[in-house]
């Protein structure tokens, strides 16, 4: 069960997906976080972000749409408020970061690497819910390459690049990340989606579109992982709609070295720990 993922020692291959587990302490009342393979924190940005206006979520068949917009207190507060709790964990902590510019990614990674608890950096170039950066970066192989290079240059910790499925050929982006020095790839972030309220005639989300997650996207995620695993040599972390250990096994068959559990955490606070237990 134990794996070494791009230099990160994990006692099982199950992590939690960024944005679905807060900074960890939100779940500490309900489950033993130390039973996870690794914890990936909600995206942190250089400056605080207030996020998008409500309504931010809606349920869809076997899934949900969200447009949170990377609400977070910014790196300074993150260091003060989130790191002390994370330090107490016995599992590797991976910090998910997003910049509005290429330089911001490197700056964030550099600040975070000083914290001993940080065992890896996950680079978010795939958020569909922000005006600048986000998915716009992740759709362009050239920008993914530049961002990956600058983060790699800034830190020695393993750098994981999280990709968006909202592209024509995800292998082009994955290869660009690999060539730029990425140590691993996480696939996938949410799928761009939309839903209307028939009563009001308006979109259910404030920004109209949002990111679809949950079991509804699992076949898309499995397909992306399978394509990427054949195109690159670096390990692939599979994520998208995993509710059970059987769901996770599909990703391993597709070529994933590890998995992340996301939306399932909202449904069952012990979902990720149960997935890990089920793989034994």
């Amino acid at each position: 069960m134990a794996i070494n993922l791009a230099g990160i020692e994990m006692k099982n291959p199950v992590m939690v997906a960024s944005g679905t587990y807060g900074y960890g302490k939100e779940f500490a009342d309900y489950t033993d976080l130390n039973k996870l393979g690794a914890l990936v924190t909600k995206t942190v940005t250089l400056k605080a972000r207030e996020g998008n206006p409500p309504p931010r979520i809606c349920e869809t068949p076997s899934g949900m749409l969200n447009t949170i917009g990377l609400q977070n207190p910014g790196i300074e507060k993150f260091l003060k408020e989130a790191i002390p709790f994370l330090k107490k964990l016995k599992i590797p902590v991976i910090i998910n970061i997003a910049g509005e510019t290429i330089e911001e990614f490197a700056e964030l990674a550099k600040i975070l690497e000083k914290e001993k608890v940080v065992k890896g950096i996950e680079v978010n170039v795939s958020c569909p819910n922000v005006k600048s950066g986000g998915m716009a970066f992740g759709c362009d192989p050239d920008l993914v390459s530049k961002i990956t290079k600058s983060v790699k240059k800034a830190v020695s910790a393993p750098v994981i690049v999280k990709l968006t499925p909202n592209v024509t050929d995800i292998t082009l982006i994955a290869k660009a990340a690999e060539a730029a020095g990425a140590d691993a790839i996480t696939a996938i972030n949410t799928v761009l989606g939309m839903s209307f309220d028939l009563k009001t005639g308006k979109p259910k989300l404030s920004r109209g579109v949002g990111g679809l997650s949950g079991p509804a996207i699992r076949p898309i995620a499995v397909r992306c992982v399978w394509q990427i695993a054949q195109a690159v040599k670096i390990p692939v972390i599979g994520v998208g709609g995993i509710m059970t250990s059987d769901d996770a096994k599909e990703f391993f068959l597709a070529g994933a070295k590890a998995v992340q559990v996301g939306t399932a955490n909202f449904v069952d606070t012990e979902a990720a720990v149960k997935v890990a237990a089920g793989l034994k």
């Binding site: 679905t20 939100e26 409500p54 349920e59 899934g63």
Partner: protein
Amino acid sequence: MPIQEKAKILDIRELAENHFKITLLSKYISTNATAGQFVNVRISEETSPLLRRPFSIYNSEPQKELIEILFDVVGEGTKMLSLKEVNEELDILGPLGTGFEIPTDKKMAILVGGGIGIAPLLFLARALKGKIPAVYVIIGARDKKHLIDKKEFDAAKCQVLTCTDDGSAGKKGLAPDFMLPILEESKSIDKETIIYACGPKPMLKACAEIAEQYKIPAQLSMEEKMACGIGACMGCVIKTKSGYQKVCEDGPVFKAEEIIWE
């Protein structure tokens, strides 16, 4: 500290058209919940409906180790919930959120519940007993069919007024309208009055405006689509004077003057 547990259904009944009450066995939650808090309920083990549904705790009885939730059937999830049977178990998370504050310096409380917004107010009415001498409850509904029986509030020694939009039961009009005569009659004790309300957004806004006009504090139980219920996903925010605040953690109860109405 909230927990996730399986709670047995002791009773399920329709109190008014499409309005159901479920009684659940939960020693822990009944002992630890405060008025205004909620439970996040998993409807099914299947993936649709996927997300939990949040429900205010309508009543909590630690001696009997039970809690009650009240809900109206609005979609697939609540439809499935209404079809549950006695002895089935529900996976619930709770008690969650920040509930009502009960000040010690007030002489009168006016509780306003519109439609299913009555849900957190029975627990509150009971909690106010012995702390605030005069408790008025205004129960509003669309029409007679949807009006919830006031007897549980009568039993909690409240002065209850019912109203419907079409006048088919109780007084005719919207719930906040009936706050005014109570406030006018007791103008001398404005400073010792507090308003609590839960219901549709326009009703809450009307309550906030009346509270501002009379310079009375008001606490409103807010609603927003919710996923995790435990402060992790940031899905359920509302706009407040201190930025976006989470209904699940910072609320569901907010001070009226904090809310920025869209």
